[in-house]
Amino acid sequence: MTTTDVSTNWEPVIGLEVHVELATATKLFCGCRNEFGAEPNTNVCPVCLGLPGSLPVLNEKAVELALRLGEALQFTMPPQSIFHRKNYFYPDMPKNFQTSQYDEPICLAGEIEVDGVRVRITRAHLEEDTGKSMHVGGGGGRIHGADHSLVDYNRAGVPLLEIVSEPDIFSAEQARAYVTELRATLLALGVSDVKMEEGSMRVDANVSVRRVGTSKLGTRTEIKNMNSIRSVQRAIEYEIERQAERLEDGERIVQETRHWNEAEGLTRSMRSKEEAFDYRYFPEPDLVPVVPTDELRARVRATMPELPLAKRARLVSEWAISEHDARVLLDVPGLTDYVDAAVGALTDGTPRDVVNWASGEVLAHLNDSGGTIADVALAPDALAELVGLVAKGTINRGQAKEVLAESLRSGDRPAAVVAARGLEQESDTDALGAAIDAVLEANADAVVEYRAGDDAVKKKKRGFLMGQATRALQGRANGSVLAQLLDERLG
């Protein structure tokens, strides 16, 4: 059996469940801070610790953020949503029930456009996160074989929005694109900071395959523990292949939950022994229904940011940049606003120049430093200044890189760095002409070959001579003036 047979005989059907932590200041039902990385058990109170006698009160911002996604993805807003208790015992869950929306969620039946194809979203609902367990002894931090576990309840009660798609996804690649688009949308809307590595976005996939040409859904498995968008695609690719091979071999697929193992590149069944779950859902008596009133919806719409799809289209046309560049910008929180501010301060140069510097040097700096856009020492109007210095010919691109590196490091204005380092580029035709003449004399062979050669040879030799001249001028030459003078002499 070859891979080709498998993929031509079997069609995957995929549904995705995406959990995101909402970008609120506090938890879903109490005033404890919703923050990542705090000292263990420091963001806790009677409510999120489930102490006897405590009662939940719903966070207004969490409701608004859920409704914001609802408005953006054209969900139906049911006349009311309610919370249920999902009852099961687990030590990271302080009340031993999870307060979650069940049969009356806040958002129903939305959709999102992914690379021109619409994917239907079944529902989005609010629920509380659990605490976090650390497994000690035995298998290197893993639950199996651990001696005991240590629980931190800082995350318990953090607001989650679970977004469940219809099985409208038919390839691992499309699953990746869906998660990418949904992530960009959530980020743009300010609903979540969607950091998969910090767990503020978690993706589970329901995967099944069916014989090509049939319509009945096959038995599905649920894949968990995918820690990046790339691993979503890899895990689903693996699982499709696994299921198709089993079926080709006449075996059956078991409905189960499987863990993606990133290091080994495979999924593995999680169940050691079958435990019966019966969540005994019933309406949470300590909370009252949420009604999306006209007033509440109007408030949500008034604060609604632009969606990525629309925003990308606008940036591509306004700034004359590529779709790819627009995606890169939107992928980094705050970067588009930063560029927008820089474009607004431009005196010389184009928005596209700003975008190129921002998505190149500035982004590289962010990645190296591990900071956010708010930590960048270079003010947006200083970036505009740098673009202006290049456009006016004061410095060339090579010098600009050096200046930018210094400004990103120190926060000094680019013009000041140029002055301090004496970096203004040489545009004087006499000085440049003399340098070129010296280069041509020293490389007379090359000049001969240039004159005798075809276009390809001419291009190569010109490049060589240009490089020699640039080096002779220690990189300070105004490139376009230098090129013009060289071409005049080469005839």
Binding site: T26, G31, N41, S149, L150, V151
Partner: protein, 103 residues
């Protein structure tokens, strides 16, 4: 349910005990099977009622949109919290090993 047939079986009691995380003794299971059957017999009155078109009441009062502003409030002191823990270690609550994955 036919007359005379017990309304709840011993196996169902054992299953409920598992869901409720109660390590019942055999005697307790025995007694509960009898007690619950009696109570459920009484509850059968309710089950038999025709309640077509009667909506359930889950809250005695009708309130909606009781919301809290998203403003942080001071929580509890960690030392005080962990002092109540049966076992604490490394500023966390210590529990014996967990056998099953979270559902």
């Amino acid at each position: 349910m036919a007359d005379g047939e017990a309304r709840i079986s011993r196996a169902e009691v054992e299953h409920a005990a598992q869901l409720a995380r109660l390590a019942l003794t055999d005697d307790e299971v025995e007694q509960l099977t009898v007690d619950l059957a009696k109570i459920l017999d009484h509850a059968a009155l309710v089950s038999a009622l025709d309640t077509t078109d009667v909506p359930p009441t889950s809250h005695p009062i009708e309130l909606t949109n009781v919301l809290r502003p998203d403003v942080p409030r001071p929580g509890l002191d960690r030392t005080e919290v962990l002092a109540e823990a049966p076992v604490a270690e490394d500023f966390r609550f210590r529990v014996p090993r967990i056998l099953g994955e979270e559902p």
